[in-house]
Symmetry: C2
Subunit: 433 residues, 2 copies
Amino acid sequence: MENFIQPKILKGFRDFLPQDEILRSGLIEKLTATFRLYGFVPIDTPILEYTEILLRKSNGETEKQMFRFEDNGGRDVAMRFDLTVPFARFTAQHKEELYFPFKRYHIAKVWRGEKPQAGRYREFVQCDFDTVGSDSAVSDFETLSLMKAALSAIGVNEIKIHVNHRGIFNRFLKKLGISEKSEDILRAVDKIAKVGEEQVSQELAEITGNAEFSGKIIDYIKPLPSFEETLMHIENLAGGEDEDTNRMRAIYKMMKAAGIEGTYILDPSITRGLDYYTGIVYETFLEKLPSIGSVCSGGRYDNLAGLYMKEKLPGVGSSIGLDRLIAGLMELGLAESKGSYLDAEIFNTNESFIYQYQSVAEKLRQKGISVEVFPEPAKMNKQYSLTDKKQIPWGILIDDKQAESETITLKNLKTREIFESISIEEAIAKIKN
Amino acid sequence: MENFIQPKILKGFRDFLPQDEILRSGLIEKLTATFRLYGFVPIDTPILEYTEILLRKSNGETEKQMFRFEDNGGRDVAMRFDLTVPFARFTAQHKEELYFPFKRYHIAKVWRGEKPQAGRYREFVQCDFDTVGSDSAVSDFETLSLMKAALSAIGVNEIKIHVNHRGIFNRFLKKLGISEKSEDILRAVDKIAKVGEEQVSQELAEITGNAEFSGKIIDYIKPLPSFEETLMHIENLAGGEDEDTNRMRAIYKMMKAAGIEGTYILDPSITRGLDYYTGIVYETFLEKLPSIGSVCSGGRYDNLAGLYMKEKLPGVGSSIGLDRLIAGLMELGLAESKGSYLDAEIFNTNESFIYQYQSVAEKLRQKGISVEVFPEPAKMNKQYSLTDKKQIPWGILIDDKQAESETITLKNLKTREIFESISIEEAIAKIKN
């Protein structure tokens, strides 16, 4: 008896069956089209990098989760755990060849050896876009506008994008005289959506050692009914107009000019945990499913590639959590997939007609119609069952007489409507309709 | 002084700058569209697999070239070195969930730790498509037809696809009574394009121990002027009509029915080195650049997943050598790339107009026009220089009066033609033209 190897994959990794991959690649194609509409260009980087390059920016957690090894040449290498560090390395390395402001998107896999759990995988796709080499409010706005457009392109219109500015919050904390505790405060505030106001309030009192400070911070981070009111409120609390508040005002005015302001909330409780961010920060929630968390987040930073070069490169970027988004779309019934891309199946009823079948197939494909010939003259119920599973809308049948007269029978496989002995041109017109 | 890490990548790996990645992804998109036109669907598999899964099919060379390591859980894992072995594993593992005949394409990276040399990389993209679960001539033909269509979709029309059938050759060798040496003979014959007839003839004489055999083999492998003549010739030499020669005849008849027979040559010297193949085999050469070798090859096999399961899965498939193809396109001047996807740049001449700029940008994007606003009111020569580098065809300018009247000035950045104070609708029409 032969020994078979049991076919299996590693824990935390996934195969994508056609239905899943058709869904995923459809989303990626629509996102890509939107990135291009805004003038972003693609790049690619190796999935393996020198560990030294990847590690400098990371904390201990990342290091533990890395797929790291010694290659055959004795080099210490690792698989990338995000697209940001390789992008920083890339920008520093190729700065003379790139044009700034440089706007790139990168949709690719990354790896983290996390404990596998529901919805968490060790291999997943990140979908990032950044503008570097510009510190302008125009780029901030463009990023926010693109986030909305990208989600809209994949059918996700009921969203709220929560925006904030780190600088205004920092000025407010400074005014209170507690800016040296800002990191802990930011981290506490960041949790408000998860743990609620009461617990955050308590934590803030502990951090600042003062219930009054806690109350003032809670007052600061609560959004008022409109963007403009909230902006005035936090501007006053932070000590009046300055560059940061003027930038937020300019961003809001651009939103209004483009007619998209209804999607954005000025939400002073959004902080994003990372030190990395220095300007605006934002998160995106599905209105009907806020519980899954932000599906698109990011912010402005002032020094992208500081580990690799002297020049400071300011930028603004965002990352779409594709896996989380797909999970959300599934839950909301918005995930559209299909069993194939086929418009039509040419049924194989008689082996001697295969030449006629191929002639018809060629003509249809030249008109952009996706079609295949069933490879064998199998039983018709077997052939129909496959077209069902692949959700193919049209079937084509050809009999003796038709093979001579170059006509075909077209069948709508959903409605069962039949168009007998029509010309190929007529069939093309019906299928395209 | 701060310590910077020198930004660098591993030997044999590559960054893709926007211009290169725009070219590559453009080709991949066109190939993908063609695969879909023929009813193929995408799948995806992890880039890491158990080494045991990957290794069973490999020879020692592959093993040495693998990126293999022990993961944090102590598992012996490796990065895939091709897409065939993961596909075999995938098909065996999911056979109950798939529909047969199963037609999949997979375009993804693979890794081999080869000695880096000109045009050879350790990370490269493979582009495979296969039909499994069918042994029919229809699938053979469809594969050959798709190869032509896919290359045509990316602008490569001057090609010849050399086709052969392993079975006919084996029968011929058996008739000569030297079939036990067929492996060595196949290998010698496979080199004829590289080393020439004389050397192959000599090698064959050595292998068979007989100059007469060598002469007969050389006679067998030489194509005659037409597909049909060659088929008759080898059919006679192999002992007359049989299943294999009838299949070749059916394939040729399908080519003629589809009107594409001019692209194919029946070339009995094509053997493909691998034991794996059992039926038709094929290679594709650029007519103007045959020296770079085959850009799309494959064949029919009778047992895809024999390492992982009992059932035999026959199939037929092909692989496009994307890197080699891109190198060929470059050499032939057929590689079309561009600096961006942008149709238009909105020049930033006055910071106070940014709201008007964004309003115009939004309207253009809604009509599918790719546009960006230059983020800062930089000097005009800097702005023009960027549009040059990005090869953006149109520029948009807005002055005080226009901001009020909602008109714009459109400039053709190539011809320098200017359309002053036209409506946004007029501008859209001109850009789309």
